[in-house]
């Protein structure tokens, strides 16, 4: 087992990606994940009881972490403008309600979103590089990414080639991530778009694979690692997120660098979101409890957060007619 967290290991990581063989040896040398144990740990964190002030704090933090998402064939500029307005002011009746972190759309609608959001501080995230399947030639993936960046995307959500990963062609997956990260640079200079790497964990199936994919993406320079596109079931789960959080924690110990985590798909209720925040808090700690380092990819979660927020403030449930459908 590579002593990832022991001092001195830091410098060794550059050699890891020298060849397919070294990369494979490294990834397969990571400590295994015991499925039963990981799921039990996730379930036990899920029993934490978050009430009153802690719940209020968690709800506002969760709202600030939402990547408000629409990824449908039927998306239109009108739909994206509505979503962008919602992201900036989720609760129009309450000015104290924070904005979401980002709006997440397909690349062709980046311009619309950007125009609507302006300098509100809400980012535009674009799924690019042939999301959700990820099965296009590399030059198409790169062109897709560059288009989205040129249109003003602040963040790019790409997906790995699961076929290559499951075949064991780890270096190919690594090199693709590196290339897409390169395409996130802005031609005129300036802050490059942040890269989120989606694993589609529902297709990788095992926690060992999730841990390997996490290290692979971090070695390739991902700013964030993300569970799912939302188009494959199961999408985000607590144990998968646990394994990814352990990976970013260990990566920081080894390299000093922080990487963000984004569970996406299937997180619909405040109760779910709070469980994730508890997990972040107890597995990686307060440093990650920030929209810069943890996000929720979700579409319906926001309204439940808003309903729970008003319930805490007023003492009664308002009901779905009192939050906006966008």
């Amino acid at each position: 087992m590579p002593a990832l967290t022991s001092p001195g290991a830091t410098g060794d990581l550059s050699d890891v990606t020298a060849s397919d063989a070294t990369l494979r040896r490294f990834l397969h040398g990571l400590p295994g994940v015991d499925q039963v144990g990981a799921e039990a740990r996730a379930a036990s964190l899920g029993t934490r009881s978050i009430k009153t002030t802690a719940k209020a704090q968690a709800i506002d933090l969760a709202i600030r972490m939402v990547d408000l998402t629409t990824l449908e064939g039927q998306d239109t500029p009108g739909k994206v403008r509505a979503l962008a307005s919602k992201a900036m002011r989720p609760d129009p009746t309450d000015a104290t309600c924070p904005a979401t972190a980002a709006v997440c759309v397909y690349p062709d609608l980046v311009g619309v979103a950007k125009q609507q959001l302006g300098d509100s501080g809400v980012n535009v995230a674009a799924v690019a590089a042939a999301v959700p399947r990820g099965r296009a030639p590399l030059d198409i993936k790169l062109a897709d990414t560059r288009d989205a960046v040129a249109a003003g995307a602040d963040e790019i959500d790409m997906v790995i080639d699961r076929g290559a990963f499951l075949t064991g062609r780890y270096l190919q997956v690594f090199e693709e991530i590196v290339a897409v990260r390169g395409a996130c640079e802005r031609p005129g200079g300036g802050e490059p778009a942040h890269l989120k790497v989606i694993f589609e964990t529902g297709e990788l199936q095992t926690y060992d694979n999730v841990r390997r994919a996490s290290w692979l993406a971090m070695l390739a320079g991902a700013h964030f690692i993300k569970t799912s596109t939302g188009k494959v079931q199961p999408a985000a789960t607590l144990p998968v997120t646990l394994v990814m959080l352990e990976a970013v924690r260990d990566y920081r110990e080894a390299t000093g660098q922080m990487v963000g985590v984004k569970p996406a798909g299937g997180i619909r209720t405040t109760k779910d979101a709070v469980k994730y925040l508890v997990m972040v808090n107890e597995v990686v700690g307060a440093d990650w409890l920030d929209p810069d380092w943890f996000r929720f990819g979700a579409s319906t979660l926001l309204n439940d957060l808003l309903m729970q927020r008003s319930k805490l403030a007023t003492g009664r449930y308002s009901g779905p007619d009192y939050v906006t459908i966008d």
Partner: protein
């Protein structure tokens, strides 16, 4: 961002404790002839109730009531009829689970999440499981006509008060015996609530009798000539005394005593889960667990990394109010036990081991001890040999599998052990070489009514749970 959990206390109002309790003999609560003693909450030292102390005459009355119930009713009922009562008891336990969990946490000091998610559900499961056996005893592999023993005298400890009651009462009743049970002096309340449940279930009078008291009451019970079977869970010291007391009599005995379990972590273990397993192994129930993984044996090549991860994980343990739903570690059960943990920890330091605890604020009142780790421990240290029965882990290292097994077995105990490795063949090899009643692989402290439990050597004899558990309550029942 710092995320502080607000207090989330479970409501105390779900349990209605009486100011004082008598003895449960012959289906009724009666006044004892002895004095009374107070049972307190170890988290606050507040008095919860006054409880009668049974003297010899009371114990005699209880044994006679059990004998009457055995002769006249219980031994004459068919297995299917006995099962109906056990199923009914199991269902009432489920219905009253919240109340039982709160009472257990109040009286014992254990966190509500454990009494709620582990103790009480396992209690109900145990009654359900043995209810299922009651009409199938002919098929248990113990002969074609297995017969009950008669009256069982049962003495249980304070660490899992209601669960140990279930381990004793459920198989005894399923096999057709009647019982006199003595709960521990510091934790009598859930046994007394169980007496109410027996009334609620219309269990025939005298089938279950509960006599509260301290050591003298227990001694009177196990030495009573009318008792056919003695079952004890508790310290090795008392277990030896019981073995002496029943020597030369016809009484059958099962003893479930102490332990100093080795939790062995190999270098190919799933490290994050192993760390969880180490934590569960020693800090579950404040370490008041006879099968606790109190000796961590970690392969030297990964010791530094495992310890760093373990310390980080220990820093997230929440110590405090047992009724708070977010508490991981509750109160030490008694002043006496706290003194013993302190004494042995001081010995550890004096013998040169390195002591570490995460920073944690302990409440001012009540009995508390922080989760504690000792490194630089060798087999020669007392903290590596004696049962501390508290949240104190001794860490030792090994180089090869053979050395791990040798060190793990180098103890007068032999109740449980843990093996952590991703290599299946190693699990099988090491498990078969370990001299321990229970060996957990890539997990720890998992309990199930279908699984037999018991020890080697000074950890006792006999098995409880599973089909094996029936043997202790049937004639000719040696498996």
């Amino acid at each position: 961002m710092e995320f502080e959990y607000a207090p989330a206390p479970e409501s105390r109002s779900v349990v209605d404790l009486k100011p004082s309790y008598g003895l449960f003999i012959g289906g009724e609560f009666v006044d004892g002839h002895g004095g009374a003693f107070k049972t307190i909450s170890p988290a606050t030292e507040e008095v919860l109730a006054e409880v009668a102390e049974a003297d010899e005459a009371d114990v005699d009355a209880a044994v006679k009531a059990a004998r009457r119930a055995y002769d006249r009713v219980w031994s004459k009922l068919s297995g299917a009829e006995r099962a109906k009562y056990l199923y009914r008891i199991a269902r009432i336990i489920q219905e009253r689970s919240r109340e039982l969990a709160v009472a257990e946490s109040l009286d014992n000091g254990k966190p509500i999440k454990e009494s709620r998610d582990v103790d009480v559900p396992t209690v109900a499961a145990h009654f359900f499981y043995y209810a299922g056996w009651a009409d199938k005893l002919e098929y248990a592999g113990l002969g074609t006509d297995p017969r009950p023993l008669g009256v069982a005298g049962q003495v249980i400890p304070w660490n899992f008060p209601l669960l140990m009651l279930a381990w004793k009462v459920a198989p005894a009743l399923a096999c057709g015996n009647t019982v006199v049970l003595k709960p521990a002096e510091t934790t009598p309340l859930t046994a007394l609530l169980f007496a109410e449940i027996c009334q609620q279930a219309d269990l025939p009078a005298g089938v279950v009798n509960i006599v509260t008291g301290a050591g003298a009451t227990g001694q009177a019970l196990v030495s009573h000539p009318g008792v056919d079977k003695v079952a004890f869970t508790g310290s090795t010291e008392v277990g030896k005394a019981i073995a002496r007391a029943v020597a030369g009599t016809d009484k059958k005995v099962t003893l479930e005593l102490g332990g100093k379990a080795a939790n062995i972590v190999f270098d190919d273990a799933p490290i994050d889960q192993a760390v969880e397993g180490i934590v569960t192994g020693i800090f579950f129930n404040q370490g008041h667990v006879c099968c606790a993984g109190s000796r961590l044996l970690v392969q030297e090549s990964i010791a530094e990394e495992v310890l760093a991860r373990l310390k980080r994980r220990m820093s997230t343990l929440r110590v405090g109010d047992p009724l708070d739903k977010n508490t991981d570690i509750g109160a030490i059960n008694s002043a006496e036990q706290l003194a013993r943990i302190r004494e042995l920890s001081a010995v550890g330091e004096a013998e040169g081991a390195d002591r570490w605890s995460p920073p944690c604020e302990l409440p001012d009142r009540g009995f508390w001890f922080p989760p504690t780790l000792f490194t630089d421990v060798t087999q020669a240290h007392r903290i590596a040999r004696e049962e501390i029965f508290g949240p104190v882990l001794s860490v030792l290292t090994f180089r090869t599998p053979a050395e791990a097994v040798e060190k793990a077995n180098n103890t007068p105990f032999g109740l449980s052990a843990g093996v952590w490795t991703e290599k299946g063949s190693r699990i099988l090899h090491v498990a078969s070489a370990l001299r321990a009643g229970v060996v957990w692989a890539n997990t720890f402290n998992k309990f199930d009514p279908t699984s037999p439990f018991g020890g080697y050597q000074e950890s006792g004899y006999g098995r409880e749970g599973g089909r094996h558990g029936l043997a202790a309550y049937l004639k000719g029942g040696e498996l």
